[in-house]
């Protein structure tokens, strides 16, 4: 297959070429296993093409405006957090640990001493790859294959730093762990998130990414791996609030073990274009996952989500709900799949996607899918897309609401079903406030 016109301009031997990779290896103090992994991924990066626009996962994407040569990986150490970078998930939250990064490099770490004494690790992934080498080696890129696509390969080869959270057996981390990624205007974030919960462990992780202002540009190419052993309980919140000039590429994976529970809440407000591949694998009997998604787009934002709920073992439950509200000329794409492997009997899978369009020019593509290879399963899916009902607006107006108050209320109500599922009150409030800020005035 030849490289298409849509993506040939992505290539940049200047900023993401061999010299950059060599310099990165030279600068870094990585254990040998990691250097070897990076080199393998780099070979993959060099041997495969950018995604083909005819590929089902990419055919509704838009990479034409992306010029990799305008960006360069952050190899030269850390900088200060850019002034004005908002932090939204901390309000009213008492945290047990926190990590902050700038341009994909961790600049501050803190962890409750009591937890550290119990063996909990929360720290820079680069540092932990050295200090907890065996642990990181075992899990890093165990769920994400660098061959997934060229962005995954690039990230696996050149990831700059990231966040490592490790909770040992039967340790419950009561207070949330807060992770914040800041990216300065025009910069690059190649960070990686690796979270491991041993059997019986419990944690809540609040992750957010933001830019110093709403118009900021940037490139994020990242990975998230959540690994849960038996009887563990993870609540993971991811608020993507990059500036509206950012490109966001991410592979996000979870592996949920026996009788474990995962509640994964995604909120996407920022970025000019985002392509997220989110997969939850239920790998042992009794695993349960709940995925919640809130997307709120405006202007010409274009967010693409390919999601997979993969039932690999019997008696697992997956519950999935994404809701988008679209303004202006923005576009969202959701392509979801429930896959049931052979032998995964008694699967209970659910997926739903609802889209509310606030303008005629907005567009939401919603493509649910099932692939079932077992015969005793229950899988249901649904999707709706539509404009705000004028009758609802009139009803509210007839009770004294202005038109824009009515629309704001209807939007809030539309998301309420998701908020009702989010068990962390401060997260509900922070997301509610973020949404309220984004609703335009309507005439």
């Amino acid at each position: 297959m030849t490289t298409s016109a849509m993506t040939d301009k992505l290539d940049s031997t200047e900023t993401f070429g061999q010299p950059a990779f060599d310099r990165l290896l030279e600068k870094r103090i990585d254990p040998t296993w990691l250097t070897a992994k990076r080199k393998q991924a780099w070979e993959v990066f060099q041997s495969i093409d950018w995604p083909n626009p005819r590929d089902e996962n990419w055919m509704r994407s838009e990479l034409r405006g992306l010029r990799l040569s305008k960006f360069a990986p952050n190899i030269d150490e850390s900088v200060e957090i850019p002034e004005g970078t908002p932090v939204r998930l901390l309000e009213g939250v008492d945290v047990s640990a926190s990590l902050r990064s700038v341009n994909g490099v961790v600049v501050s770490e803190s962890l409750d001493e009591g937890l550290a004494a119990q063996g909990v690790v929360v720290g820079s992934l680069s540092r932990c790859a050295r200090d907890h080498s065996a642990l990181v080696e075992r899990y890093l890129h165990s769920l994400i294959c660098p061959k997934s696509d060229r962005f995954a390969a690039l990230q696996a080869a050149m990831w700059s730093d990231g966040y490592f959270v490790y909770v040992p057996r039967n340790v419950r981390v009561e207070k949330p762990i807060h992770l914040h990624a800041a990216m300065a205007d025009g910069q690059v974030d190649l960070s990686h998130t690796l979270i491991v919960l041993e059997s019986g462990a419990e944690a809540t992780v609040l992750f957010e990414s933001s830019s110093p202002d709403v118009t900021a540009k940037g490139l994020h190419c990242g990975g998230v791996e959540l690994i849960q052993h038996g009887n563990s309980h993870l609540r993971y919140v991811n608020l993507q609030d990059w500036g509206k000039g950012c490109w966001h590429f991410a592979h996000q994976r979870a592996s949920v073990g026996r009788d474990s529970q995962l509640q994964w809440t995604v909120a996407a407000m920022g970025a000019k274009f985002a392509q997220v591949d989110q997969r939850v694998e239920l790998v042992e009997p009794g695993a349960r996952s709940q995925v919640n998604g809130v997307m709120f787009t405006q202007d010409r934002q274009h967010l693409v989500y390919n999601t997979l709920q993969h039932h690999k073992a019997p008696h697992c439950t997956s519950d999935f709900l994404y809701k988008s509200v679209l303004q202006d000329r923005s576009r969202t794409v959701w392509r979801g799949m429930i896959k049931v492997s052979e032998g995964a009997q008694k699967t209970d899978g659910y997926q739903r996607n609802d889209n509310l369009m606030l303008s005629d020019a907005a567009r939401a593509d919603s493509i649910p899918g099932l692939e079932i290879n077992a015969d005793d399963v229950r899988c249901t899916h649904g999707s709706t897309s539509g404009r705000v009902d004028e009758e609802l607006i009139f009803y509210a107006q007839s009770r004294g609401f202005t038109r824009s108050e009515a629309i704001r209320m209807i939007v809030t109500g539309f998301f309420q079903q998701i908020f009702d599922r989010i068990t962390i009150q401060t997260v509900r409030e922070a997301l509610g406030a973020a949404i309220a800020r984004q609703v335009r005035q309507y005439e």
């Binding site: 009139f394 107006q397 007839s398 009770r399 004294g400 202005t402 209807i410 109500g413 309420q416 079903q417």
Partner: protein, 273 residues
């Protein structure tokens, strides 16, 4: 207090199809009026035109509340001016709790000059008021936490509309078939609720096919609509007559209006097909 709602020579079209053809009606504060008429005669259209539904275009005539010309106002401005309509089939707003909806509505209606983003009625104060209104109207306190009209039974919807009316204390209220679909007990409850709110504290226009609601809220005036016009006005006895004997006399007495009514019905049916 003296207020007056004046409707003069009102012509209303929906999708360029004329429905109301010159309605004249004056309602004074404290009066109860019944609006009756066969199907398709334009009763709900009149209510929706007063409330300001955007699909109901006023092509001629005027609606005034005291000195204010409602015809030039958006629905929310009319509501803030003191007009209320209890809908026949109120829509559901999923995800919005009834209490939150009413708090915002009551704030806007009581403070017509409130700008978007300004404070609402304090939560505690509002909750107390809502609770006492719900007790007065014998409404299950659970209502407040439920989403607006979402999954409500027909009876619950009507009661929620009456509760809304009680919270907004309008100057003029239009009740569009608030009794339809209710059993005798529910109608009695709805009627008693209207009496509780105080018929003397507003002007009421009760749109109905039946006389059940009117038994408990006897009108001073009864208007009969046919073919988009009010063809006859009388007292409470007219409502009783129509209930007992139907609209045959009216149809015969006003052949032009009857022809218009049949024509509108036919169009409605052809649209429905």
């Amino acid at each position: 207090m003296s207020h007056i709602l004046q409707i003069e020579n009102l012509h209303v079209s929906v999708n360029d199809k004329p429905i109301l053809r010159g309605v004249n009606l004056v309602i004074k504060f404290g009066e109860t009026h019944a609006l009756m008429g066969p199907n398709g005669s334009g009763k709900s259209t009149l209510g929706l035109a007063i409330a300001g539904h955007p699909n109901y275009q006023i092509t001629q005539g005027s609606i005034k509340l005291d000195d204010a010309n409602l015809t030039e106002m958006e629905a929310d401005e009319r509501s803030r001016a003191g007009v209320f309509m209890a809908f026949q089939r109120p829509v559901a707003i999923p995800g919005v709790k009834t209490a939150d909806f009413l708090r915002h509505a009551a704030t806007n209606v009581r403070r017509p000059d409130r700008k978007e983003g300004q404070d609402l009625i304090p939560m505690r104060e509002f909750r107390k008021e809502l609770k006492s209104k719900m007790e007065q109207l014998k409404i299950d306190p659970d209502f407040a936490r439920r989403y607006v009209n979402d999954g409500f039974s027909g009876g619950e919807m009507k009661r929620a509309e009456i509760l809304t009316m009680a919270m907004l204390s309008p100057k003029f209220a239009i009740l569009d078939e608030t009794d339809s679909g209710l059993d005798a007990d529910a109608v009695r409850l709805a009627s008693a609720s209207i009496a509780e709110i105080g018929r003397d504290k507003m002007g009421l226009l009760i749109i109905t096919h039946h006389d059940k609601l009117l038994e408990h809220n006897p009108p001073q005036f009864t208007h009969v609509m046919l073919g988009g016009r009010i063809v006859e006005t009388g007292g409470a006895e007219l409502a009783r007559e129509l209930h007992d004997q139907g609209y045959d006399r009216i149809r015969k007495s006003y052949p032009d209006a009857e022809a218009a009514n049949q024509q509108m019905l036919a169009k409605e049916e052809s649209l429905a097909v």
